[in-house]
Symmetry: C2
Subunit: 298 residues, 2 copies
């Protein structure tokens, strides 16, 4: 027969102190940063449950939602990232990590479509190999540092949706692989230029639990039209951002809260046959200039 010492239950549960009780159980966490993260997470989670008076039925619905979200994920679909995106958490984390300080080009989320490496292309080339229509455009820019000095040889990686709102990987077999992607190298003055079509706004995937959440909250699934830009160079903090098309629908309600005002640019119409011919574009065409200011490391 086993020994049975006197009953004690100093850890007994108490709703009023629940956050403290659980936080106390984390005191033995070896990694101090993990302890800090979990303690804050537990306190906020318990505060949320108490603030709303979460019922067992609502709790069960939440467990079911999270389970379905995890089970929707596979090699090419990340539903938890999408959930983080549509709740603005991804943008918050990105913005905290890359404060703009007014002096530098602002960042935004990378998104899920950078899974294909962009093909190296020469300055002035088009990234629109499919040429399936849309407004032709010229993108120009210059990469400088915080002191206004050019970043010679900076690498500019760009990718975008087409004029119908689809990325190449969403149209396998229909468009050339790596269509509307390009890796450019700036010249000695930090300048770059390439040809493309104006991207269209498009919906995030809505066939999973997050699509259900958007529908239940009366939100549309669209991202405002944008061109992804990633700028890197030795000794420079890599910048991942978007160039948003001024006037695009959904700029004021981007599904992932990716829009920052400084990143919205006019894709202005240019009616100039000589310039069009110079760049190998039909006339008229659209033109956007995107000066990029990056941060030196250290």
């Amino acid at each position: 027969m086993t020994e049975h010492p006197a009953a004690t239950a100093p850890g007994a549960f108490d709703a009023a102190r629940s956050g403290e009780i659980v936080a106390a159980s984390l005191a033995g966490t070896a990694d101090p940063r993990l302890r800090e993260l979990l303690t804050s997470l537990v306190r906020h989670t318990h505060a949320f449950v108490k603030e709303v008076g979460l019922t067992p039925e609502e709790w069960a619905a939440g467990v079911d939602f999270l389970t379905r979200t995890g089970q929707k994920c596979d090699a090419v679909r990340q539903e938890f990232v999408l959930l983080s995106d549509v709740l603005g958490v991804s943008m918050l984390v990105d913005t905290l990590a890359h404060p703009a300080d007014g002096a530098y080009t602002e960042s935004t989320v990378e998104g899920p479509f950078h899974l294909v490496a962009s093909p190296p292309r020469a300055l002035g080339d088009t990234i629109d190999e499919a040429a399936r229509g849309g407004d032709p455009c010229l993108v120009t820019g210059r990469v400088t540092d915080g002191d206004g000095r050019p970043v010679a040889g900076a690498r500019i990686d760009v990718w975008q949706a087409d004029a119908d709102g689809f990325y190449d990987v969403q149209r396998p077999g229909e468009v050339p692989e790596r269509n509307l992607r390009g890796l450019f190298t700036a010249d000695g003055d930090g300048r770059f230029r390439f040809r493309s079509v104006v991207p269209r706004y498009y919906p995030v995937p809505t066939d999973g639990p997050v699509g259900g959440l958007l529908a239940a909250t009366g939100r549309h699934p669209y991202r405002a039209a944008h061109l992804h830009v990633e700028v890197s160079a030795p000794g420079v903090v890599t910048l991942t951002t978007h160039l948003f098309v001024a006037g695009s629908p959904h700029l004021d309600s981007d599904a992932v809260f990716g829009v920052k005002e400084s990143l919205v640019r006019e894709f202005a119409e240019v009616d100039d046959a000589e310039r069009a011919a110079e760049h190998g574009l039909p006339n008229p065409f659209r033109h956007v200039d995107f000066p990029v200011t990056v941060r030196r490391e250290g």
Copy 2:
């Protein structure tokens, strides 16, 4: 060529106001309760991210953890419930839903092992058909309402781990199906009694992401020894609770925070050959009495 109205971005992202910006996007939620829940959830989530300064790498680790948690779930395993359990959220939700008020028997979590219906048994029967050892015990009790009146014919559903810390469903083929489960009907005075063995403490499953979390936080995975009890009757609010074995290891650190002091009871040793024979038990045996006070509906 499409129309391009003037650029406006009133929804532009701003880290300082991120919680408010996302909360505002939920204004169109048709169900007012869902709007309330999501608004509070978003505010707490953004406050957490800012409070700790969550980095992109930590965010990615969190996404990976949640994804693995969802993918660990199947028909007989619910890793998100386990996560909720070890963070004390399940107990909090249960306790908010069933305030004890001092007058009623306190509730605790149902746990994941009630997936098998308990077999009806006669008062006084044993639920230990396997008889594989352990301390024999007698469980007695009486179901009354808040005014002390007996609840005649109340149904008492019990299930427990064996003396090695395993439920029947964890030992298929080794023990009779539905071993250590029983559904009893109280007599006209609300009284019930049955025979069993003293349950042993046992670990929650540790082969998934939640097991990794427990290890990283230096927490053991054990639940203090307990007997599950669910009491129901027409016109009565169903009570789901545990009877904890006084003196069990881990009463002060139950992995799911299930312990409430009022639910810890002595399984006292009785050395009385006459009483033992009366109940069909060896001498000595253990005895616990569990008076249950339930709430009338309305």
